[in-house]
Symmetry: C2
Subunit: 349 residues, 2 copies
C-alpha cells in the first residue's frame, strides 16, 4: 500500500516554479494509540504557503520553512480511516493540517471533528475556517466600520475579502471590492458589493478615486503592491488597516513597486505587530492625568529632562539645521526674548 506525496524539491528564488515540487510515493503510515489514519479529502491552498517554501523572499516569518524533501504543509479536511482513539470512528470527517499527501497519521487531539450536517465539510478550510475567521476578525476587531463609512477590500473575491466585504455591507458601510479580471468583478457585483473594481484596468487608480469620494475608512489589506499604492493616499485620518497578508511580498519579483514597504508590512502580519501612528492631539483626554503625573515625577526627581537653549531668533535657522543633523541634546529651544523676572516687573516694563 503506497500513497502519493508532494514534497518541496527546491526553495524558489522569486516566484515558485513547478520544479520546486516533486511528486513522490511513500508508505501509508500506521497509527499508534491515540492517533488516527486520515484520508485527505481537501487540501487548502493559501498564499502563506509561499512563505513556508523558504528562501530569501520569505521575509522571516518566524515559522520554520518546510524542510527540503519533506511533504508540503497545508490545512486539510480528512476522513478517519483507522481510529486508535475512542473519540473517533472510521467515517468521521475532521479538520486537520496534514499537508500535501493522500494519507496521514494525526494525533486525535490535533484534529477537530466536523459535522457534515452543518455545512459542506470543505467550508472548514474556507468561509467557516481559518480564512473566514481572518475576514471576520478583520471587520469585528480591527476595522470596526461604522454605518456610512467607506470600506475597501483587496482580493475581495477571496474568502477573507469576500466575507469581510459582505460583513461590512451588512453593517451599513459602503463597500468597494477590488479584484483582478472581469470575471471576478462580475462576481463581486453579484455578491452585493457597492462598487467592484478591476486592478488590472489601466484606469484603476482613477476608478478608485471616483469610487471613494469621501476617502477610505477601512482597508482590508492582503495584497500590497499596486492596490495598496492606490489605496494609501486615500486613507482617511483614523483609518483602520487590518493587514492579514501582503501577497506581493511572498514572491520578491521585480515589480517596480515599493516592495520594501510590502516587506515591512509582511513583518507586521507574521508577528501580529500593532503599528499605530499617532499625534499627541489624539490623546487630549489624557492631559489632566499627564500634567499631574509629570509634575509629580519632576518634583520627585523620578524624571529628568534636558533643554538645549539657543539664544536669539536669528539663530533659529542654524539651530534648526543643527537639530536635524542631531547636534542638540534633549529639547532644543530658541530663547527669543528673556523671560519676565516676575509679574510685577513685567507689568512695570
Amino acid at each position: 500500500m503506497t500513497q502519493t506525496r508532494i514534497v518541496l524539491a527546491a526553495r524558489p528564488d522569486g516566484a515558485p516554479r513547478p520544479e520546486d515540487f516533486a511528486v513522490t510515493s511513500g508508505p501509508i503510515p500506521e497509527p499508534a494509540a491515540g492517533q488516527l489514519l486520515l484520508r485527505t479529502l481537501y487540501l487548502s491552498l493559501d498564499p502563506y504557503l509561499r512563505g513556508r517554501m523558504g528562501s530569501s523572499a520569505s521575509h522571516s516569518s518566524g515559522t520554520q520553512p518546510v524542510t527540503l524533501g519533506a511533504v508540503m504543509e497545508g490545512g486539510t479536511v480528512g476522513e478517519v480511516v483507522v481510529s486508535r482513539d475512542p473519540r473517533f470512528v472510521p467515517g468521521d470527517v475532521v479538520a486537520a493540517a496534514t499537508g500535501w499527501q493522500q494519507f496521514a497519521v494525526a494525533p486525535a487531539a490535533a484534529v477537530r471533528r466536523l459535522n457534515p450536517a452543518d455545512a459542506p465539510v470543505s467550508t472548514a478550510l474556507g468561509v467557516r475556517g481559518m480564512p473566514g475567521l481572518t475576514g471576520y476578525a478583520a471587520i469585528r476587531e480591527i476595522g470596526r466600520p461604522r454605518p456610512g463609512e467607506t470600506v475597501v477590500v483587496a482580493a475581495a473575491t477571496g474568502t477573507v475579502g469576500s466575507l469581510a466585504g459582505q460583513m461590512a455591507r451588512l453593517e451599513g458601510s459602503r463597500v468597494v471590492g477590488i479584484a483582478g479580471g472581469e470575471r471576478k468583478v462580475r462576481w463581486l457585483r453579484a455578491a452585493g458589493f457597492d462598487v467592484a473594481l478591476d486592478h488590472r484596468d489601466p484606469d484603476f487608480e482613477s476608478n478608485l478615486a471616483d469610487a471613494t469620494p469621501d476617502g477610505i475608512d477601512v482597508y482590508v489589506e492582503s495584497v500590497g503592491g499596486r492596490v495598496r499604492q492606490a489605496v494609501w493616499p486615500r486613507l482617511n485620518r483614523h483609518a483602520r488597516v487590518p493587514v492579514c497578508g501582503v501577497a506581493s511580498a511572498y514572491s520578491a519579483a521585480a515589480t517596480g513597486l515599493d516592495t520594501d514597504a510590502d516587506g515591512l508590512m509582511s513583518g507586521l502580519v507574521t508577528r501580529s505587530i500593532t503599528l499605530r501612528g499617532f499625534v499627541f492631539s489624539d490623546f487630549e483626554y489624557l492631559r489632566p492625568t499627564f500634567e499631574r503625573e509629570v509634575a509629580d515625577w519632576l518634583r520627585a526627581g523620578d524624571v529628568v529632562h534636558h533643554e538645549d537653549v539657543v539664544d536669539g531668533l536669528v539663530n533659529a535657522p542654524s539651530a534648526f539645521l543643527g537639530m536635524l543633523a542631531g547636534e542638540h541634546l534633549g529639547k532644543r529651544l530658541v530663547r527669543v526674548a528673556p523671560e519676565p523676572q516676575s509679574e510685577d516687573q513685567a507689568s512695570i516694563a
Copy 2:
C-alpha cells in the same frame, strides 16, 4: 516699531539649507478686541517642521505647508504685552503657536495660560508640552509595557524618547535607549536607562542584539532608517510600535536605506492610522460567535462564497501556481479524494 521675522524663502529638495530661510523685518501688529499682542519668549523646534517646509519630500502630511514668503510655523511661549481680552493682563505668560517671529497677535482663545510657579515656562514646549504628551501616550496608551519586558527607545535623549524611556523604567521594564554620539549615550546612562547605545557605532547592530537577548516588546519609533532596520528583526510577536515620527523620511536624502518604508510609516503618523498585522489565531476567542453568525448568514443567504475546486493531489502544484498568478476565484481547494457519501457508506467502505 519693527520686529524680526523668519520666513520660508524656498522649499528644500532633500535636506533643508540655510538659504531656504530669510530674515525679514516687519511691523509689530496691533491686537483687535479679543486678541493679545505676544512677545515671543520661546520658539519650539521640532522635526515635524521639516514637513511643513513642503516639497516632494514632505510625504503629504495632510497639513498645508507654510506659504513661501510667510513666517515659519512653530510652537511658542509668549508674554502678553497688550491684552484686549479681559482674561489676560500684560505680563501673563502663555503657550501659543505664533511661529518664528519676535511679536505676534493671537486670539485669546487660542492660547493657554502658564503658571510660572508650577515649572519653568519653557517646559510647556517640552516635557510638559506636546512632545511630553507624545512620549507619555506612547507608553500609556500604545506601548503599555509590562514589568520585565524590553523597551527600546529611538532618539532617546529627545523629549519624547527620554520621557517614554523613563516611564517604562518606572513601570519595571528593561529600557534600552538609542542616540547618536558619546555625549548623548552618557546622558542616557545618567538618566537611568538600563542600556544606552550609540547608533553611529559601527557595531550598533550587534550591540543592539547583545542588549536585547529576549527580543524587543515595545519600540518607541521616531527616526526610521538604520535604527528601525536594526530594531525590526528583533521585535517580538505582539510587539507594540508607537510611531510618532520618522525623522529619516522628513528629508528624503539618498541614504541607501529603505526610505520607502519610512515614507509609509510617516503616513501612519500624520493620519493617526492604526496598522496592525494579525493572524486568525489571535482571535480564537471569537470562534463561537463567529461560527454561529456565519452559519446564520449562509443559511439566510446574507453571505455567499465561492469555492474553486481542483481535482487530484497531483494537480496541487499547478493549482497553487495558478492561484499565485490569480487565476482562481474564491477559495481554491484541491479535492484529493471524494467525500464519503454518508457515514453508513463510509464505514462500509
